[in-house]
């Protein structure tokens, strides 16, 4: 429990998880440190009522998803509908390790990764959150259900539906040419 840990240590232990979840959920690195800070401040405020009914990490995922949803709403208000991980400090997908040393294959792999990121941002918020928590964060159905406050059956449905949409989108538009709209506001 938290009694033996300082809050700073809790932040240090979980900051990487919170940052990468927020980056993937929001599809942008813009303001991600502000969002991560908001996650930890909400955690701190909630600590007195946190009774340990779940792991602290699962509780943090729940807060991170809520903060990402608030960010999506803010963007919708500000009409920032289309953002991408490929912003000015981007290219993380280009630095992904890949076993192939063939340059053409590497380029194709990067484009595929970018297409996945692009289609991921076109899913509904809940489908995106389920896919990120399941595949990237390797959370169980139980943990995802708790984080999203959904029944497990609904989590399975969203996971299946989200992957189906992704697969069909990738079949229809396997690799899209990058356009300025990906990196800027609409």
């Amino acid at each position: 429990m938290l009694t033996d840990l300082t809050f700073e240590q809790v932040v240090r232990d979980h900051q990487a998880m919170v940052f990468r979840t927020l980056v993937r959920l929001t599809g942008s690195r813009e303001h991600v440190d502000d969002l991560a800070q908001e996650v930890f401040l909400r955690l701190y405020r909630a600590l007195p009522s946190f009774r340990g009914e779940s792991l602290l990490t699962t509780y943090l995922y729940r807060i991170a998803v809520n903060v990402a949803q608030d960010e999506w709403k803010r963007r919708r208000r500000d009409n920032l509908t289309h953002v991408s991980l490929s912003d000015d400090t981007s290219g993380w997908e280009e630095r992904l390790p890949h076993p192939s040393h063939n340059a053409e294959q590497q380029i194709e792999q990067r484009e595929f990764q970018q297409a996945v990121e692009d289609h991921l941002q076109r899913l509904s918020q809940i489908e995106r959150a389920v896919l990120v928590l399941y595949h990237q964060e390797e959370r169980s159905y139980d943990q995802i259900a708790y984080a999203l406050n959904l029944p497990i059956g609904t989590v399975r449905t969203h996971l299946h539906r989200g992957r189906k949409k992704m697969r069909e989108a990738l079949k229809t538009h396997p690799i899209q040419e990058r356009s300025p709209a990906w990196t800027t506001n609409s």
């Binding site: 240590q9 932040v11 990468r20 991560a36 991980l85 990237q136 992957r163 992704m166």
Partner: protein, 112 residues
């Protein structure tokens, strides 16, 4: 994580290859840059929480026991002074005594 097949309806090699690539892409975590001193900055923004004693005091329980003892003493005093009647005051004190005793015994049981 053990992934079930994404597309069980379509097991063609191309579909399987696409599924595998999709899973690999989804599993690839983004590279992140955490600002130096982020944890210290966040921790400095939270107000220090007042120390809260984790040891329960049970002042209410003690007051309740005193109340029971006082009721018992009053009952005994009234009984020795006026043995031939059982008036309203004694009835109220007896009710209070029984009520407090039952309530306290239930409460102490639930606190274990």
């Amino acid at each position: 994580m053990d992934h079930e097949q994404l597309n069980p309806d379509n097991s063609s090699p191309a579909a399987l290859e696409l599924d595998q690539r999709l899973v690999r892409a989804l599993e690839a975590a983004p590279e992140i840059r955490i600002p130096a001193g982020f944890a210290a900055r966040v921790a400095s923004q939270v107000a220090p929480r007042p120390m809260v004693s984790s040891t329960p005091t049970h002042y209410g329980d003690y007051a309740m026991i005193l109340g029971i003892l006082a009721s018992l003493a009053a009952l005994f005093g009234l009984y020795t002074r006026n043995q031939h009647t059982f008036d309203l005051v004694e009835t109220l004190l007896l009710t209070q005594f029984i009520g407090l005793t039952v309530w306290l015994s239930l409460r102490r049981h639930s606190l274990r």
